[in-house]
């Protein structure tokens, strides 16, 4: 079972995000970066499939700057076999990323092409399905369970109030949601081994997707918070405010 897993380096979910002075990017100072949480489920799935099959390669691919090398090493330490860094300046537009990934992946042999369901920086939720269309492959997004039986995939994806069952034949695309599995932590042995695994690097040219960033700003400020009172006695006053002040009841 050969898998390709697309991963991204993103700010940690705890990070305080401040817009930089240019109004177009975030201020990276003090921000801790990590592998995108959902991409860890994708890697774990690829590793488990390889282990169950007893053969196969897991290739991780990222588009990013030099610091993304660290994220690839992390994936290799988890157990991936080889890594590819496509060096480019990444914007908040998913289409150029999907195009470049599709171009890189097109001529590689694989059974499963795995993604996270969402990158927690651009929150685009789009690269996996875009790549599937660009490559003419079947695809299931937001996947919480996956069965593969002789090349036939049965996936469950999360929808409002339940799950949708999606089926297709390999090769195909799966975008992982939390719940798919429990990602492993790299072992010390894994970290040592990762240093000797192949990591290919090359520059790529991203196309212009036609989505122009006008401005990045902080979130709209919330109204001044107010404590209505203490305990159950405060409830009538709260209800009055909800009815008369903000008219939501």
């Amino acid at each position: 079972m050969n898998s390709i897993v697309c991963i991204k380096r993103v700010p940690d979910s705890e990070a305080r995000i401040r817009v930089a002075a240019d109004g177009e990017s975030i201020d990276p100072s003090g921000v801790k970066f990590d592998m995108n949480e959902y991409d860890k489920y994708a890697i774990e799935e690829a590793l488990q499939r390889r282990e169950a099959a007893g053969e196969g390669q897991v290739t991780v691919v990222t588009i990013g700057g030099d610091d993304a090398r660290e994220t690839l090493r992390q994936a290799l330490a988890m157990g991936a076999d080889e890594a590819v860094l496509l060096r480019a300046d990444v914007s908040l537009d998913g289409l150029p990323i999907a195009r470049a990934l599709a171009d890189e992946i097109r001529d590689r042999p694989f059974d499963l092409l795995l993604f996270g369901k969402q990158a927690i920086d651009d929150d685009g939720m789009q690269v996996p399905a875009m790549v599937s269309e660009l490559l003419g492959l079947p695809c299931a997004t937001v996947v919480v369970s996956l069965e593969i039986d002789e090349g036939h995939v049965t996936a469950r994806r999360e929808i409002e109030g339940g799950h949708e069952v999606v089926e297709f034949d390999l090769p195909g695309v799966v975008a992982a949601q939390k719940g798919l599995n429990e990602p492993r932590y790299p072992s010390l042995k894994g970290i040592m081994a990762a240093k000797k695994k192949p990591l290919e690097e090359k520059d790529v040219e991203l196309v212009d997707g036609g989505l122009e960033l006008v401005e990045l700003s902080g979130p709209p400020s919330r109204p001044e918070p107010e404590i209505v009172g203490e305990g159950a006695e405060a409830v009538p006053e709260l209800v009055r405010r909800l009815r008369q002040e903000v008219k939501v009841l």
Partner: protein, 328 residues
């Protein structure tokens, strides 16, 4: 012609709540662009009546396809239908709901048409003839404004953000000739669809509970509150109680759960961790009930009550029942 296509999501032959928002948002955009609204509704047999209703929200053309193969979501046929509609009407924009299906489909269409897509848009307009959108990024810790330099502009709108506006459109109903062939991706069924309550993203009022409620059986009083608030209300949860197995993952609000924008959000026994705030800080009005006056949730709440949930929640239910009984 600067037409705007709206993907009107239906399920089991009825319009999803967000379908009205999608068509209303498309109408507002089409008015600014001077074009028509083309609504596309794909579903199984017997769904055309629901689609006809879209004229009331400003649809000029309503393209329906009723086919047994479309009863479940059919991504390949839907991509095909939207692609051919976009080509035939030289659309300026295509508006999807940022629902589970809308997000999946919009990204496929974007790949097929080779056009950029803005997800979970919260503001939509036209400047100097181009479509501009604003959308949250970094889990709502920042907002990005974009201008589309190519058409069609692909957009998915965040549920519960855009108003439903009743405005009569021409409402010409046409039937799309869809022959769904052998699908690459087959949706063979849904599970757990028979739910009694609205999804947390669709509800107008969300009553969310956290670890402060102490045990799963204490959700009985939360249920009572939701019942008192009426059919537009539903339950939400923090990750702590989902991870503990007290509540289903579908209720989780936050960075790794769902992002909600109801008109009223109750956070009960929830501390207000940054990952939780990421999922609810665009709610119109936030009410926090917490026994710790220092809990960070009070920093984003319009109104707070410092107190024990086990006293406050039943009292709240009682007051709201009284209010509803008196016709309020």
């Amino acid at each position: 012609m600067a037409d705007v296509i709206a993907y009107a999501e239906t399920r089991d032959g009825t319009l999803r709540p967000v379908a009205r928002e999608t068509v209303s948002a498309a109408r507002a955009l089409a008015d600014e662009l001077g074009g028509r609204v083309v609504a596309v509704a794909l579903d199984g047999p017997g769904s055309a009546d629901a689609a006809r209703e879209l004229a009331r929200f400003g649809a000029d053309r309503i393209l329906t396809a009723e086919h047994p193969a479309l009863t479940n979501y059919h991504p390949d046929a839907a991509v095909q239908a939207i692609e051919s509609t976009a080509e035939a009407s030289t659309a300026a924009a295509i508006v999807f709901p940022a629902s589970a299906r809308g997000k999946d489909l919009s990204a496929r269409v974007a790949g097929r048409l080779n056009r950029s897509l803005a997800t979970e848009v919260t503001e939509l307009g036209v400047e100097d003839g181009s479509v501009v959108v604003t959308r949250p990024v970094y889990a709502g810790k920042a907002y990005a404004k974009f201008r589309f330099r190519a058409t069609p502009a692909l957009i998915s709108i965040r549920p519960n953000v855009f108003p439903v506006v009743e405005q009569q459109g021409d409402g010409v109903v046409e039937t799309l000739d869809i022959q769904p062939g052998e699908a690459r991706t087959k949706v063979t069924g849904t599970e757990g669809g028979a739910r009694e309550r609205l999804d947390v993203r669709e509800a107008d009022i969300v009553v969310a509970g956290g670890r402060g409620l102490q045990a799963p059986e204490n959700w009985e009083m939360m249920d009572d509150l939701v019942d008192a608030l009426g059919p537009q209300a539903t339950l939400g949860a923090s990750r702590a109680v989902v991870d503990a197995g007290w509540r289903p993952h579908g209720e989780q609000v936050g960075q790794t759960g769902k992002v909600v924008s109801p008109s009223l959000y109750f956070a009960i026994g929830i501390s207000g961790a940054i990952q939780h705030l990421a999922g609810m800080q665009t709610a119109n009005v936030i009410v926090a009930v917490n026994k710790d006056p220092e809990a960070p949730i009070f920093g984003v709440a319009n109104y707070g009550i410092v107190g024990d949930a086990f006293e406050v929640v039943p009292r709240l239910t009682e007051e709201i029942r009284t209010l509803r009984d008196s016709g309020g």
